[in-house]
Subunit: 139 residues, 3 copies
């Protein structure tokens, strides 16, 4: 049994879902394990992770619109606005999704379903440099 | 230290919470580990996992009603409707819950609280065949 | 490769976010592992876990207010009220957040971002005794 870790640095282009499945699969393949557990961890409180459909583009735009509506940018609602009006909704959208995902690795690959992609969900308006930690344990 | 993996195939009967605690506990018991980490992973984007109260039936119906209200079936709201009006709300409800749970195993059993049950949350109207991957690591 | 487990008993003071980062970091440090995977698991259905900003106090009060608004205490909405009007909203707020977090351990410490703190989110009005299971695996 052995472990590997890696930090992916990802430049987002502002609010929205950015697929990172390929970068993650590629790193896992390089570790040459057959069976194990992959953990993906986002080191931020205004960006998060989501496994979602990787086919129809409309699923992503509907998801983005849903989170904008459920946790709106509306300064009147929030006491916290030190970093601008998009900061507190970013924390709420992070709370409603995930900062961590663990995925079994079987036959050398993350056991994702056919339609599942891993997305980094940027919640701030502007582009940010984000760090996603990968941890793999197995044999 | 050793690992086991297994895929549970579960036939849902349409929208709602389906308890799968017994199937999971039974597979864990068969692996005969004392201490470890169990990961449960749902390979779908329109069904998810939830740990919830396993006592009062009303908790489940209230949960189901809540998610139907917060992410409603309303074609006017969504661009994505290739697979019917219940598909996009299914993706949203999946995003708001989990596709993965990891539970420590202590003294041979998942360390669930007394009132915690593991549920597969089917978000589509019709019955579906769902695959839930189990991964156990420990000794 | 080795494992450790521990149960943190935490007395909450009623509804709200309680930071438990220090207790978790301290236990991890005592295990003297360099690289590994830490899992934090909350054994309850009316309290949950959240990684959130550990700087501005207003982020926490805005988060608390958001969850009170999105899953309100309103007996007319819920069939389940055996344990009082704050019980069903507690289950909903638990479903929308997490009962489990796994965090890679790198260079002996949980790989949290600078602004990330781990919080126990008490959803009941009254103080409760809560159990949070820690599991650490690594070397």
């Amino acid at each position: 049994m052995r472990q590997s870790t890696h930090v992916l640095s990802i430049r987002t282009s502002g609010r929205g879902l950015l697929e990172i499945t390929r970068e993650i699969r590629s790193w896992v393949a390089d570790q040459r394990l057959t069976t194990g557990l992959l953990t993906v961890f986002c080191k931020h409180t205004s960006a998060s992770l989501l496994i979602q459909e990787n086919a129809a583009r409309e699923v992503r735009s509907d998801l983005e619109a849903f989170f904008e509506q459920i946790a709106p940018e509306d300064p009147a609602r929030y006491a916290h606005d030190d970093e601008g009006p998009d900061d507190m909704p970013a924390h709420l959208r992070t709370a409603l999704t995930q900062v961590q995902l663990s995925i079994p690795v079987i036959e050398g690959e993350p056991a994702l379903g056919t339609w599942q992609g891993i997305y980094l969900f940027e919640h701030r308006r502007r582009p940010h440099e984000r760090q996603v930690v990968l941890h793999l344990l197995g044999e």
